[in-house]
Symmetry: C2
Subunit: 373 residues, 2 copies
């Protein structure tokens, strides 16, 4: 109990990046403990191009927990969000008890207001599903509390060769017009229940592949890294297809991007470019910096876009270049008009960070979202 | 050696059906001995709708082996065709030696002329690839010689419940416009080399599934048969996707057909309809006779066709019926215009047979294709 009559609002804002798994996990072996069916390994994309910013406020004056995602209030009673909040409070309590019994944790029993936005359109489908969103939120909040959570997901970004050597490009390919693809949470559960190949993959394939991937990263062997990334993406989508009823995330544009990448690599006789697809049709492309301009030009060649003009490439600047007739002929695919809206050019980046500038809080001192967003 | 100066032409014509595998095999564990990576089980479609007719002639006057497929002379030096001819001659020789040393096998050392046609357009993609074609040819020729070949492929058609209870519908969905899909022979070889899931499927999944399938057939349990058929089709295409580079046979129309079938079954709370896809985008649909009219109407509803008018349904007659609004609402998919050219309605049928009517030979007495084809 406090005798102070002014109502204090505690607020913190942090940003979290988008992670792209190169060894993918799909489904949990234990839903309650959130234990994944196999280990996975991810690359962190740079926040300058793709980030989630989240402000959390606690105050004695708040009457209920509330959440705003991308400017729209959402139902905080969603079980996933509730278990997320429970977990954060449990960790904070544990931290107080174990390491610092005198820690000011007045906010622990208070209600929270959460406001979170992406700096990329949710339509891009890059970890913008509720699932991805909530995961970021968890990472963000927990990290602020300086609590480390043991996760199976490795992080290739910090201080490794990848940081210097790789550029990433997110491609927004068109989604199915008339079908809402299954979300990742329920998709995973169905796959765990029905896909025999998912089980066999987890038991017989992933651990060796994980070793090989880590070895490739240590050896700075991009082409092995790229090959394994593509194989693992394909195998993940194979287990989706082996799910009953089957789940399709790859559409005809995704398939054509896959064809383009293989034809491009074939032309050079080495694996210069890799694709990976999560639970949606959008490709994430990995390549070394020096190959970015040419490969982007290849994409423009196969997927000409009339509508976006100069905005076809977002994010980091990509130099113009001219494709050789030989390369064009080798790719040899019929152009698909207006099937890719734009490319986001980015690179590998750092993990979550706290925003020190208070003017960047997404919530006002009244605990409500600022109007400026 | 014969003293007869007239040149005798020996000729035989037989027909072979199209088989559709419900437990699929993809790839060989021994290319030379043509040993499949796993057992498979097939349903024989009725020849009235889908058949291959083949005439084989031998004569001392023929100067070389020749083959005409669907009216066009093809290169008989194709390794697959050569090994096929070798095998037939080996079997015929074996038969003479073992069972009937005095058998007239004058033709054995003679050259052969082969002429073969389908009664369905090759564009339908139902076992119309060179591979499928040659397999039928082998079956046809060998069978004529009354030689039994041990094959892993079972046959569900003869005298079983399936014959009475099932109707089949082949759906011709559009192929990729700008990409020639990989043929099954080279596709299989790449899969055997690169797909870990194909190996795991062969080792851990198929034998149990085969048992369950045979049990379902014996129990006349259509819905179990249908469920296993769909799961096995999906798993086969999953191993294609796990191949490196990945192989895509299913296009957006195939995916929509899959969605329609699951929504239809969901509506009735039972598995009334099954799909299966071989190495191409065309669906084969299995259902019981009484459900054919309604399901065909569902297909017409989701895939309206302007161009073909009355010819949308080929083969067996299908009665008209009206869909309930409830069912339409449950299917609830946006119509895809002109994406299916037509449906072939057929049923389960008998195996290969000899054509007794000599006027149906495809080759004339001169050993050349008749002009009338």
């Amino acid at each position: 109990m406090s005798d102070d009559n002014t109502v204090k609002t505690t607020m913190v804002t942090c940003t979290a990046p988008v992670n792209i798994a190169v060894i993918k996990y799909w489904g949990k072996r234990n839903e309650e403990l959130i234990l994944p069916i196999n280990s996975s390994l991810s690359v962190t994309l740079h926040q300058d191009q793709l980030k989630t910013t989240t402000t959390v406020a606690t105050s004695r004056s708040f009457e209920e927990d509330r959440i705003w995602l991308n400017g729209k209030e959402e139902d905080i009673t969603h079980p996933r969000l509730q278990s997320c909040l429970r977990e954060i409070r449990r960790l904070a309590r544990k931290r107080r008890n174990k390491t610092n019994p005198d820690l000011d944790v007045a906010g622990l029993s208070h209600k929270v207001h959460i406001c979170s936005i992406n700096n990329f359109p949710t339509a891009a489908g890059l970890a913008s599903s509720a699932a991805g969103f909530f995961t970021h939120l968890l990472v963000c909040l927990v990290w602020k509390g300086s609590l480390l959570v043991e996760v199976c997901m490795g992080d290739l970004s910090s201080g490794s060769w990848v940081n210097e050597m790789m550029n990433l490009t997110g491609l927004n390919s068109e989604s199915f017009a008339d079908r809402k693809p299954i979300g990742s949470t329920s998709g995973m559960q169905t796959s765990v229940k029905t896909s025999l190949l998912l089980k066999l993959r987890a038991e017989c394939v992933v651990s060796k592949r994980m070793e090989d991937m880590i070895e490739a990263v240590c050896q700075k062997d991009f082409s092995t890294f790229a090959g394994l990334t593509m194989k693992d993406s394909n195998q993940f989508h194979a287990t989706c297809l082996d799910t009953y009823p089957p789940i399709f995330y790859l559409n005809s544009v995704s398939q054509q991007i896959i064809n383009v990448v293989h034809k491009y690599n074939e032309h050079y006789g080495e694996t210069r470019v890799a694709y990976t697809f999560d639970a949606g049709p959008n490709a994430v492309i990995f390549t070394l910096e020096q190959h970015v301009p040419e490969f982007v030009q290849v994409i423009k060649h196969v997927f000409p876009s009339e509508s976006n003009g100069g905005k076809f490439i977002k994010g980091l600047q990509v130099d113009d270049t001219i494709l050789s007739e030989e390369l064009k002929q080798c790719i040899g695919l019929e152009p698909m008009l207006n099937k890719i809206s734009y490319i986001i050019s980015t690179k590998v980046g750092p993990g979550p960070r706290v925003v020190e500038d208070h003017s960047e809080h997404l919530l006002g001192s009244d605990g409500m979202p600022k109007k400026t967003q």
